[in-house]
Symmetry: C2
Subunit: 354 residues, 2 copies
């Protein structure tokens, strides 16, 4: 069956482009001696994670325990959890995970460190620790190298014997990355604490990772599919985008307006920077059209700048603004090779927020 | 178990408030002789739909065929599908649905009407038609009463014998509603076509539905849960909001910043109007805090206007901006009565986009 004939709306993955994107990133990391640790939140599909490892990734990155659990059950043997796990309710799930896979957790505070230590004790296995630092993004992360040293010392206390401090991580890789790493590494090494890993993340800017002295590991996810945002950031071409949403024009109320059946339940409400483009996705077949508004099942399209205009019943391909959130909306995604349907693959780690 | 002890992030439904909200809306409709046809997209939970019918609703409203299918299988015997169904791939699913329930479909164009007629023929049963008109919202809908008449006439053609024209619908209820209905009803009745139903929708403005001459039916959904947007629109109080997200403070990188574990995968990226409030949800326990940014698993909170500030590990309750999209993100939601956990109910019609 041709994927163009599928019932809509439907997100479609192009397998050839996925393979191209995976190979290109692995080659980049190999060329520059960087460890590649792909973030699987983009696809949430175990067989893609296993393929990334087969191509040379050192392991994978997950954001939540439940997501990591799906991947560990599928056979991923080395997982970095880039989230500050906090609280008693997390101890047993984290311990179960640690029994299944080599586990490292990044964190920026002592409460989280104590939670992870409790899980290591409960599991009876070692859990690695990376100190997360804020390199300019303003989200999580310690603010000073001294705080990183304090976390490393706390991890080394006798009561925390199940923990091993493994290094530093940041998201993505702000302007403070290089000076912070240099200063923190000095502090830690003078205290006798080795820094094995310095991990940075994010697909935008990924091709410049080798220019950052001290960085050993790259965490990227979106590169597998790419989307309007990563094309806008200049790290991919439209031809490298591996996921589009096939949608149908269901109404043409006025000459300048079309309604597509791909609303926020299909595309999400995520925007791109104004410099990248207008609206809630790029209609590849009508690039002058603008998706001005989304409701849950409706995309309202302004056709006023379009010479040619779609008819009711016509199918169009929409490039999502942010493809990670699209993966999280769909239980299954259609998979295609050469335009032929390969199957409907479960997005096995969809909805794993805990 | 107290729901306050659940693992986070977790959306929690307060059953007592749901019951209050359902009863209040039914009483309003009964008082004014309006048929209530609740939109189930808000909750997507069959037993809530059945309870709405038990309380007096004439049937339910669904947005997509797959969503309606879940409700029909659960026993909902009268369904209005408020979506212009278009294309060959929809005929058989729509026919199957029509065999299971009394079905009405709203539409605004002849292509959709032909699709519905093909389904009626395939099913061998009658499907009702409402002509959707644009009362000022600028989404779907015919622009003139003449177009509504044309659709009604097309539904009456011999080739379309499985269709029955039942009236008019609009979403929500813009300023053109009353004059449009008056003019269209005149046109239709002079042509010998009775108008049984005039259906309007939307929770904002719902309590003024009885002031619109000619309107017979109210479609509302959000009233069951309410959210920050409907409170902002003045149709509910904070005490009537029946869903909140329990989240944990996982990081306090700076004195003015907290990170919660409720990101866009939990709350969605939907905003409210600036007049309603800032940010991506209201932290009920710290109303002066502002959720300035969401990533998929992180909520970045600005505490600079807060006198008291939450500690790492503390749990807070977040009122979502737009609760419909929250329902669509979660496979299950925790259900509570008096703060005690009743169960984790499947959101059975989650992810039904087709």
């Amino acid at each position: 069956m041709r994927v163009d004939d599928l019932d809509t709306p439907v997100p479609i993955i192009d397998l050839d482009r996925v393979e191209h994107n995976m190979a290109k990133m692995q080659a980049y990391c190999d060329r520059h001696g960087l460890a590649l640790r792909p973030h699987i939140k983009i696809h949430k599909i175990p067989r893609f994670a296993l393929r990334q490892i087969e191509l040379g990734a050192v392991g994978i990155t997950c954001q939540k325990i439940t997501e990591a659990r799906v991947m560990a059950e599928a056979g991923c043997a080395d997982i970095l959890l880039t989230y500050p796990v906090v609280g008693a309710a997390k101890v047993e799930p984290l311990a179960e995970l640690a029994r299944m896979t080599r586990l490292t957790v990044s964190l920026d505070n002592a409460v989280s460190l104590d939670t992870v230590a409790a899980a290591a004790r409960a599991a009876g296995v070692e859990i690695g620790i990376l100190a997360e630092f804020d390199s300019g993004d303003g989200r999580c992360g310690v603010q000073t190298p001294d705080e990183a040293l304090e976390l490393a010392r706390r991890a080394a206390e006798a009561a925390n014997s199940g923990l091993t401090f493994r290094g530093l991580m940041t998201y993505p890789r702000g302007p403070r990355t290089v000076p912070f790493v240099a200063e923190a590494r000095g502090l830690l090494e003078r205290a006798g604490i080795p820094v094995q890993t310095v991990s940075v993340g994010g697909t935008p800017g990924c091709w410049e990772t080798h220019t950052l002295p001290g960085v050993t590991e790259l965490r990227v996810g979106t590169y597998v599919y790419h989307d309007r945002a990563t094309v806008g950031a200049g790290v991919a071409t439209l031809d490298e985008c591996a996921v589009h949403v096939l949608a149908t024009v269901v109404s043409r109320p006025t000459p300048d307006r079309a309604i597509l059946d791909s609303g926020s339940k299909t595309l999400s409400s995520d925007r791109v920077a104004p410099s990248v483009g207008d609206g809630f996705g790029l209609i590849l077949d009508y690039p002058d059209a603008v998706i001005t508004r989304l409701n849950e099942e409706h995309a309202v399209v302004d056709l006023s700048r379009c010479a040619a205009r779609p008819e009711i019943g016509e199918r169009v391909r929409v490039l999502p603004n942010h493809v990670c959130v699209v993966s999280n909306l769909h239980d299954r995604m259609a998979v295609a090779a050469g335009g032929e349907l390969v199957g409907h693959w479960p997005v096995a780690a969809r909805g794993c927020t805990r």
